[in-house]
């Protein structure tokens, strides 16, 4: 639906992840929760409508948007050139730092030091790609179903290191205080809000909204609440990924 239709209807359908805490997940009492849910709720308030969440599986996010099943995606979408051909990204509103975590005792500073190691990552995640690109065939990459299994593999000693995002440090600390640390930063990806290509009214509205919450501290508060970190620095532009409709 167009922005006008949504405003007329009074409800916006938001595509979101249903099982990826803390980004977007259905919480223990069965309601949608998480970082994306908070930001999306704020957005709905901004345009004066009610919010209705549609949890989506990773692979269904783009099809659900392009076929009109949802109006907008607050769905932990890392911005990539590939995806930017299918949807319109907004300015970034969240960042994800992919890094290598390993025991403090292990000396490692570059990817070359990882030769012969076993490294765990969640299957098909950004970490998977980043670690695989970095180590090539010099180390064994073990791919697990999710973050919990990956972290458990490190704690159980099934792997010597894991490729993780910014939450891993906190979680490893909670599981085994003082044992693990962040070793190598591979890359940082940025999440944008997804709208349909060419729909300028949506894109403009979202960008204005993001600028506003960045400025008034609301985004920083949500970031702190869910990730325990300060608001990261966002780039002004990313090559081949336009933030606005031209």
């Amino acid at each position: 639906a167009s922005l006008e239709e949504v405003k007329a209807k009074g409800t916006i359908v938001v595509g979101i992840q249903g099982d990826n805490a803390p980004w977007g997940f259905v919480n223990s009492s069965g309601t949608q929760d998480g970082f994306d849910a908070d930001v999306a709720t704020l957005f709905a308030k901004e345009i004066g409508v009610n919010v209705q969440f549609q949890p989506l599986a990773v692979a269904n996010r783009i099809p659900a948007l392009t076929t009109g099943k949802v109006d907008i995606l607050f769905a932990t979408m890392a911005m990539t050139e590939e995806r930017a051909k299918s949807i319109q990204y907004s300015k970034p509103y969240a960042a994800n730092t992919i890094a290598l975590y390993a025991a403090k005792a292990d000396k490692v500073s570059t990817a070359e030091d990882l030769a012969g190691w076993e490294i765990g990552v969640p299957k098909s995640s950004s970490q998977d790609k980043a670690v695989t690109d970095a180590v090539g065939s010099s180390a064994t990459v073990r791919r697990f179903d999710d973050d919990a299994a990956t972290i458990q593999a490190l704690i159980s000693g099934q792997v010597k290191a894991v490729g993780g995002n910014q939450f891993y440090g906190q979680r490893l600390e909670a599981a085994a205080a003082g044992t693990y640390e962040r070793k190598i930063d591979f890359l940082t990806t940025y999440n944008g809000v997804g709208t349909r290509l060419g729909e300028k009214d949506w894109n403009d509205t979202v960008n204005a909204f993001i600028d506003k919450i960045k400025a008034n501290g609301e985004l920083a508060a949500i970031t702190k609440k869910w990730m325990g970190i300060e608001l990261p620095q966002f780039p002004e532009s990313i090559p081949n990924i336009p933030f606005t409709v031209n």
């Binding site: 098909s124 791919r143 000693g157």
Partner: protein, 222 residues
């Protein structure tokens, strides 16, 4: 449906799929061998007159048969290291498959052993054979023959269960499929093709089982 099928990107990864297929075969055969050992040894315990021997075997069988393999393999992979036993995914997968198949094998083989007449056992004793020899030389083969069809279909299932080992990152076909999928985004093509490969694998397995049966159980019965 306006989807354009494109198997090209998937076919490019044929060598990887081939190796992974071998990995699946390897897991399956090793798992079966272990299951058979567990089955045969377990049957001895399961049919023991001593309750203290029998009870843990029964508990083992019931627990394994009434919980999902996914949960079992997860436990073996992540819990054993906490007790100081660290196994790589391949070894873990083989052990998990062996344990799972073994629990079923115990019950199946028990049915076979019980189908062997008491007279056979007594004839063995009367000839002066010891208990172990009677079991090994006289009971086992006819018992296995009696339950061969159920045992092999259980082993086909075990072969197909190797696909679940992807969740501990074992080297096998489903893991390869998921990797290729995440690289090519050709989900349907990948899984369609790999399903076909599994069909070939299970067909080959059945052929092998039939061959074994013809060689090993060729003696005539009435």
């Amino acid at each position: 449906m306006n989807y354009q099928f494109d198997f090209g990107a998937v076919f490019e990864r044929a060598p990887e799929l081939l190796w992974a297929t071998l990995g699946t075969f390897g897991l399956a055969f090793a798992g079966m061998a272990l299951a058979l050992v567990i089955g045969v040894v377990g049957v001895i315990g399961r049919t023991s007159p001593n309750k203290i021997v029998r009870a843990p075997v029964i508990a083992f069988v019931e627990i394994v048969r009434n919980t999902p393999f996914l949960v079992q393999i997860f436990y073996i992979y992540f819990a054993l290291p906490l007790m100081g036993i660290r196994l790589n995914p391949t070894a873990t997968a083989i052990i998990a498959l062996g344990i799972n198949g073994g629990a079923y094998a115990i019950e199946i083989i028990r049915g076979g052993v019980e189908s062997i007449g008491k007279g056979q056992v007594e004839a063995g004793y009367a000839l002066g054979l010891h208990k172990a020899d009677v079991f090994r030389l006289i009971v086992l083969k006819p018992a296995l023959r009696a339950i061969y069809p159920s045992l092999t279909s259980q082993f086909i299932m075990l072969t197909l269960t190797t696909s679940v080992c992807t969740s501990i990152a074992a080297y096998e076909l489903t893991s390869a499929a998921q990797r290729i999928e995440s690289d090519t985004f050709r989900s349907f093509e990948v899984y369609f093709l790999v399903t076909g490969i599994y069909l070939v694998i299970s067909t080959v397995m059945m052929g092998i089982f039939a061959l074994i049966s013809r060689r090993y159980f060729s003696y005539p019965t009435r």
